[in-house]
Amino acid sequence: MMGGRGNPVPQNFRIRPRAIALGLLAVLLAGLAALAMFTVALDFKVREEFDGRRFALPARVYARPLELFAGARLSAERFADELAQVGYKEGLQADEPGRFERSGNRFRVLTRPIVFWDGPQPSLVLDLSFRDGSLTRITDAADGKPVTLVRLDPEYIGGIYPAHNEDRVLVRLDEVPPDLLNGLIAVEDRKYYSHAGIDPRGMTRALLSTLSGAGVQGGSTLTQQLVKNFFLTPERTLKRKFTEIIMALLLERHYGKDEILETYINEIYLGQDRNRAIHGFGLAAQFYFDKRLKDLSLAESALLVGMVKGPSWYDPHRHPERALQRRNLALQAMRDEGYISDEQYLRAKLAPLGVVAKPSMGTTPYPAFLDLVRRQLLQYYREDDLRSEGLQIFTTLEPRAQAAAETALSTRLAQLERRMAQPRNGTAEAHGLEGAVVVADPQSGEIKALVGGRDPRYQGFNRALDARRPVGSLMKPVVYFTALASPEHFTLISPLDDGPLVSHEPGRAAWEPKNYDGTTHGLVPLRAALAHSYNIATARLGLTMGVQGVLDNARRMGIERDMPPYAATLLGAVDLSPLDVAQMYQTFASGGFRAPLRAIREVLTAQGEPLQHYSLSVEQVLDPAPVYLLTAALQGAVREGTGQGLSAWLPPDINAAGKTGTTDDWRDSWFAGYTGDRVAVVWVGRDDNSPTSFTGASGAMTVWGELMSRLDPEPLLPPVPENVERVWIDPDSGLRADEACTGAVELPFITGSAPEEFAPCARSGTRLRNWFRGLFQ
C-alpha cells in the first residue's frame, strides 16, 4: 500500500483500515442477520394475523325452525307472523323462494332450501290450511300429496366472530360502493394500487405538508394502516414505525391488493359505541346510518372515509361541524382525483351529515341470548376451534317467546315506574327499574327466550346470566320439597308452627326471622305456609329437616354456586342469577328430572356437515312423588296465596304453579313458575341495589303474567306418580272428608301418609267405614 507521494505507509497504519473495514463488515453482517431474523419473525406474525382475520368468518346463528305438520297447534295468524319473522314476502313470483300467498286461512308458500343436522331440505311449494287455531292440512303443491313433516327455514339472529369476540358486518370487496373505494384511495392512499406497501414519496410529501401546515394526506399507506390496526397499542415510536414498514412490505408480498383492501374495509377502526368497538365499514354503515353498506350515498361514504383518520376526533355525534368539514374535504379529494364530477361534488357537499341518533342494536336483535350461545359454545370449543369459515349454529330460541318476554318486561317496567311516580308512593325513585327474563321448556331444558335488560337490543350487562341477587322466598319450595320427601313426617296438611322462632347456630349471632306482615300465625297447614310464604314456619321446617339436607336438594336441582350452610339460606340469603333459578324450577316443572338449560341444538359447517350435536339429556335427581306434592302446593300458591294476582292474566284452568320472591327492603322482586309447557323466571330490581318498592307479586309477577298471557300456555297437569293418591280432606280437622263435609278439598298424598280417620263432618256411617277400612288395610 502506498500512501501519500510514494512514501510507504507505516505497518501499524496498514492494519487499522482493514480492521475497521472488517469490523464494519462484521457489524453490518450482524445487523443484517438481526434484521433478517426480525423480518422472518414479523413475516410469520403478519401471515398469522392476516390469515386469522381473513378466514375467521363469523359463525351464523339461527333461531329454532318452525315445525309444520297436520295437527300442529298453530293459528293462521301466528303462521303469518312466523313467515314475516323469517322475511317471507307476499306474492309468489315464479321460482323465487321465500315468498307466499294467503287467502284467509289458506297459504301457499315457496320455502327456502336449507341444510339441517339431519340432512338437506330442498325448496318446496306447500299448501297449508288452518282452522280453529290448528294447522289442519299441509300438502305438496307439486303433486297434491300430504306432507308429513316439514320445517320452515329458521330466522337468522346474528353472527359470532369467535376469534375476537367482536361484532363485524363482513363485506366482500364487490359489495362495497365504488364511491367508498375511490374515496378511500383518493383521501388516504392515492398510489395504493401501484406501491409495494409503502410509499416513500408519499411519506416525504406528508412530512413536508405537515411541516408546511397543509395537506390531507397522512404518510401511511392503506397497507400500513391495516398493519397498525392489528396492534392494540398505538405507540408512536421509531421502532414501531420501522416494524410497521417491514410488515406492510411483507403483507404485500404475500397477499394481493384486493385481498388487502377487502380486509382493510372490514378491519379498520371507525369509532366506539359505549363498550363496543366499531370495526369495518359494514358495521360503521349500520351504526352511523342504520343502513347496509351498499346503500350508502356518496356523501355518507365520504364521511366514513374521512373518519378513518381519527374516528373520535371526527365523531359525527360529538363533533358534527368537524365531521362535516372533514367529509367535504374528502369529497374535494375525490373530485380532484377525478372520481366524481363537479356536480356530484357540489350536491354531496350540501347534503346534511345524515347520521342517526345512536342505534343500540348491534349485529343481532338478541344480544343477551347470543351472549349465552357464545358462552355455551366455549364450553365445548376453544376459540381456536371455532376458526372455521361460517359455522352454522342452530339454537333453541323461539322468536315468539322472545318477543313476548321483551315486550312484557319493558311495558310492565314502564307501568311500574308510572305507578311509583304518583305522590302517595313516597320517596322511591320513579325510574331506573331493570329486569331479566328466562323462559325454557320444562321437559327438554331448551331455552326459548332470554332477556338481559329492559332495553333488549342493547348489548350491555346481561342480567339474566350475570346479575346475582338474593333469591329470598324462591328458596322456600326447596325446603318444602325436602320435608315432603319424608312422608312419614310431613304431608301437605301437616301443621307447622309459625310462632316466634329464635335460632342459634354455633359461632353465629342468634337469628330471629320475621314474617312480612310482622305477625305470627300459630299453627298452619304446610301448604298454607308455603302459599302465604310465611318466613317463620318455613325457617322452623327447614331447621327441622336440617339445612344441609335442603342445600343438598338445591345442589341436585342444578345450583352450582356456593350456598352458605346457615339457616338464613333457607329463606334465600343466597345470590343466584335468573338462569340459576330457572334451572332449579325446571327440575320441579319436569317432575324431578333435571335437564341442563341449553341454548344450542347443533353446529354445522358452512357446507352443512354436522359438527356437534348438543344432546337432550335428563337426570332423575328428585323423587317424583314429593315433587308432585310440591307442584300442587305451588298451584295453591297461585290459586289462593301470594300468587293470586296472576288471575288477572291467566284463566284458572291453566292451573299454573308459581312462587313469589321478595328480598329485604324490596330490593329484589322475583317470580318463578311453570305451566304445562313452559317454565319462566322474572327478576325486577335496580342495578345499584336500591329498594324498588315492589314485592314479588306487585313487580316480577306482573311481568310473568303478561308474558304468559301472550304465549297461549298449556294447562299444568303433571302425571300422577304411582305412589301418589288423591284424598278428600276436611281442612278444619285435617281428617278424611266425604260429600257431607262442606269445604272439603282433594289433595295428593304419598300412599300411606294420608290420614286414615274420617272427620266428624263425614256422614254417620263413619265408624263402620273406619272399621271397614281397617279390614282392608
Binding site: 343436522w117 313433516l149 328430572f593 302425571p719
Partner: protein, 140 residues
C-alpha cells in the same frame, strides 16, 4: 231397610270384587303415536338404529319429542338407543322418564324396567339391576 251388617258386608264384598275385576284390563299394546309426523320420525329412528347410526336415531327421536314431549314410547326409544350406544346412565334416566308418562301401560313399564336393569348391570350395580329386573317381571 234393617241395618244388617252381614248384608252390608256381602254387598260391599260383591262391589269390591266387581270393581277389582274392572281394573284388570288386558295390557295395552305399546302405542306409538296418533300423530303421523311423530310416527314417521319414529320409523326413521328405528331404521337408523338398525344401521347403527346412533346420532341420526337420537336426532330423530329428539325432534319427535319436541312435538310430543309426553309420549312415553319416544322416551323409551331414546333410552333403547342410548343403551345400545353404551350410554348407560342416560339410558336409565330416559327409561325412568318414560315410566312417568306410561300411566298403567304394563308393557311399557316392563320394558322400561328392563332397560333400567340392563343399564345398572352394565355400570356394576348388581343389586340395583336385580331390583329393576324384578320389577320388570312383575309388570309382564
Amino acid at each position: 231397610m234393617k241395618d244388617t251388617p252381614s248384608l252390608h258386608i256381602a254387598l260391599l264384598l260383591t262391589v269390591a270384587l266387581a270393581s277389582g275385576c274392572a281394573t284388570v284390563r288386558a295390557p295395552e299394546p305399546p302405542t306409538s303415536s296418533h300423530n303421523t309426523a311423530v310416527q314417521v320420525l319414529l320409523d326413521t329412528a328405528h331404521a337408523a338404529l338398525e344401521d347403527g347410526r346412533f346420532a341420526s336415531a337420537t336426532a330423530a327421536l329428539e325432534r319427535a319429542l319436541r312435538i310430543e314431549p309426553r309420549n312415553p314410547v319416544l322416551w323409551q326409544e331414546l333410552a333403547q338407543a342410548h343403551l345400545r350406544a353404551g350410554n348407560h346412565a342416560q339410558a336409565e334416566n330416559f327409561a325412568a322418564r318414560s315410566n312417568t308418562w306410561a300411566g298403567g301401560n304394563r308393557a311399557l313399564l316392563a320394558s322400561n324396567w328392563q332397560i333400567i336393569g340392563e343399564a345398572r348391570a352394565a355400570r356394576g350395580n348388581a343389586a340395583g339391576a336385580r331390583q329393576a329386573l324384578e320389577r320388570a317381571e312383575r309388570f309382564r
